[in-house]
């Protein structure tokens, strides 16, 4: 090993199937929960094409250029089944651009649930089925088989690590959150508690969020963030082997707009980093095999990469969210028994975590409506559409004579 230090850049790509304005009068009549009319905020094709134009296409173009110009540049990406399906249907040229990037051989695709769901916490069988579905679509589209795992919203605990270890993954990732790290730095490789072979990479959330959340914030005292400044911060931990920069892919062009200079920042990153001969880039799996774990990390309670709480409360914090998700998983046995593939797929699309996020009221009664990123006017509307679709799932089961 000639290099002493690697950036592990990991980008997450996802779009849900948003539920249309679906009323109780539609239930039992129309089963097209995800077909919002064109021009409405919940229209999935519209959103996908908009994000593709602002983020996917320009970012892929740059990633490809970065890969071509810097032989040592590598990255990892997770890309959900629900977004792959939508790319195939609404923007095949965008899917092609992802394929070109992956075809360089220096982009690792990370495993996860096909539906970006919280199934791990509700049904192990369903969770495994969705991980399998995701592997199959990744193999079909990209011709690669994932060897590293991430769970929805980077939700993580010891139990998940044990599962991934037994499933044969080389690596798993989580938030390098201070309360679980203790005195440890996120810039090392770890072994999850109670596992044998798997390794754990922890997100350097300070440096990651400087890019993902703060980059264009003019009130931030470090604004504007230049590559040079960022390199200085990165070099402060020169004696630590990893720098795990994990973020949403949509950071580039969608969360941080092009006019903020985010694309130039991205494109300069490998050049600036690789000026030092001892620096390199690694994929998640590669990093897990290149270093020895320095310690075992014990994380019994679930953490995520979200909010200041780093927990699941944005998805499961209120009564609507808890009620909706448990109602959905309560249908698991009858839905699967129906053998109706369309019905099963609709049920799975409803498991996507975004639906529960849209029901979040954490910021709502404080009047901080700007913190509410959702296609719906209120969290209550999100819940109503969801539950009406749920009522319709029951209707479809009853129609088949299946008792619910």
């Amino acid at each position: 090993m000639s290099e002493s230090r690697a950036i592990v850049l990991y980008l997450h790509v996802h779009q849900p199937f948003r539920i249309r304005h679906y009323t109780i009068f539609d239930a039992g009549q129309e089963h097209n929960y995800f077909d919002a009319p064109s021009g409405s905020k919940e229209n999935n094709a519209d959103v996908l094409r908009k994000v593709a134009a602002k983020s996917y296409l320009p970012t892929n173009e740059r990633l490809l250029r970065m890969l071509n110009h810097n032989p040592k540049f590598k990255l990892s990406m997770s890309i959900t089944g629900t977004v792959l399906e939508q790319l195939e249907a609404y923007a095949p040229e965008v899917l092609e651009s992802f394929k070109h990037v992956v075809a360089t051989g220096r982009v690792e695709i990370v495993a996860e649930t096909y539906h970006h769901s919280l199934a791990f916490f509700y049904s192990r069988d369903e969770f495994e089925a969705q991980v399998r579905m995701h592997r199959e679509i990744v193999e079909r589209i990209f011709g690669v088989t994932p060897t590293a795992f991430r769970n929805t919203e980077l939700s993580y605990n010891n139990e998940l690590a044990s599962w991934a270890d037994q499933a044969g993954y080389k690596a798993i990732i989580c938030e390098g959150w201070d309360p679980v790290m203790g005195w440890r730095s996120p810039n090392f490789l770890y072994k999850p508690y109670g596992t044998n072979n798997i390794r754990l990479l922890t997100k350097n959330y300070k440096l990651s969020d400087d890019v993902a959340f703060r980059f264009s914030n003019q009130h931030w005292q470090e604004y504007p963030l230049t590559t040079e400044k960022f390199m200085n911060w990165a070099n402060a931990s020169w004696d630590q082997p990893l720098l795990n920069l994990f973020m949403d892919y949509e950071t580039f062009g969608e969360h941080q707009w092009e006019d903020s200079g985010i694309f130039n920042f991205l494109e300069h990153l490998p050049k600036a980093w690789l000026q030092n001969q001892e620096h390199t880039f690694m994929t998640i799996s590669e990093a897990s095999e290149s270093f020895e774990p320095v310690d075992e990390l014990d994380i019994p309670n679930t953490i995520t990469w979200a909010d200041t709480e780093r927990d699941l409360t944005a998805w499961l914090g209120n009564k609507m969210q808890q009620g909706a998700i448990s109602s959905l998983y309560a249908l698991e046995a009858p839905i699967l028994a129906s053998n109706d593939l369309k019905l099963i797929e609709d049920w799975r699309r409803l498991q996507t975590s975004d639906h529960f996020y849209y029901m979040c009221t954490k910021w709502w009664s404080d009047g901080d409506v700007h913190a509410y990123f959702s296609p719906y006017e209120t969290p209550y509307v999100a819940y109503m559409n969801f539950m009406n679709a749920w009522h319709d799932l029951k209707f479809r089961l009853a129609e088949k004579g299946i008792e619910v």
């Binding site: 209120n318 009564k319 609507m320 009620g323 209120t378 819940y383 109503m384 009406n388």
Partner: protein, 402 residues
Amino acid sequence: MKILMLGWELPPHNAGGLGVACAHMCRALASQGADIDFIVPYINSHPDIDFMRVIPAIPADAREVMKHSGAYDSFYYQSKTGKKHEIAANDYHSIYEASVDRIVTLGEYDVIHAYDWLTIRPALRAKQLLGIPLIVNIHALEYDRSGGGYGNPFVRDIEYHGMMMADKVVAISQHVKNIIVREYHVPESKVEVIHNSHVISGLNNQIAGPNTYRYIEMMRSVGYGIVMFFGRLTIQKNLPGLLRVMQKVVEKHPKSMLVLMGSGEQELELVELAAELGIGGNVIFVGFQRGKEWRDMFGVSDICVMPSVSEPFGLTPLEAAEFGVPNLISRQSGVAEILSSALRSDYWDVDDMANQIVSVLQNKELATQLSEDGISEVSKMNWDNNASKFLNLYRNQLGYAA
């Protein structure tokens, strides 16, 4: 700062929400140092008001005056001499206006603050006599009262005149401001929005124990969902629309009932329409209620609906929220601008309102969430911000005048 406030009513002599809002606002203003003389058009006393001076303008009983404050009614009286004479709102406005000549000598006033068309004539007289800034505070317009129509031209004229002559117009919601600019053509820059607020009554623990509405309680215990409306049964409130919504609700959720609490000129028409729509058995008219009878209704309601065509503000949803009852409110209302934890709909969208009501009746967790969020939201409300905004506005106006 000495304020001459020209009002129409204060609790307990109020016929509507205006008096309640005035009392809360003035209490907050007084606590921030304002010295208020509040003029009312009757002689009755206000035992709960000790934070400002209340001065009668008309030597009459409040009940008499309130009877004549409508824009459409007039009454005949026969005096002892046998002479008949007619009296209507305009006559009281004239007496109020005449009394201003005496009132302005009672203090050294800095600004005049007047409410709605009822007090515009005396307000303009006061401004003429004192030459100090006049703020016209609009809580309701003839446009709203007539359900989005032209209404009584006489009232429209007074409103228009008052707003044009005022130094500043304050609307209690953006909704009202939009109407002032669109329908009355008052320059937008002259109109400021200072929202109404709410103070919790602390009465929500008083709906425990034996409830007045035993029949409704019983229906609920066998699975009925209760939809509630509080307010006047008048065109502004869109009650024929609500009955059509209810017809759809009953179709999806047969065990549901609508309770209408209030009185008004549409009552008979509504009884007839409910029967015509085939939901006569699902609609209950309980009339106008106060006190325990009013409060207890919140204890047996699953959702409170305010489907108004045009509602300047709308106090009822805040009261319902305080009692933990989920709300569905018309987007064409001022309260929709400040209450987050409510369901909203356009007043004309019968399907959407029905869908949302059924959702609340069928999904316990939605009802609970709305209830808890509503209680938490209204418990944070108070009038202090509104009072500071008014004090700033007074100061700015005085800057201009000086």
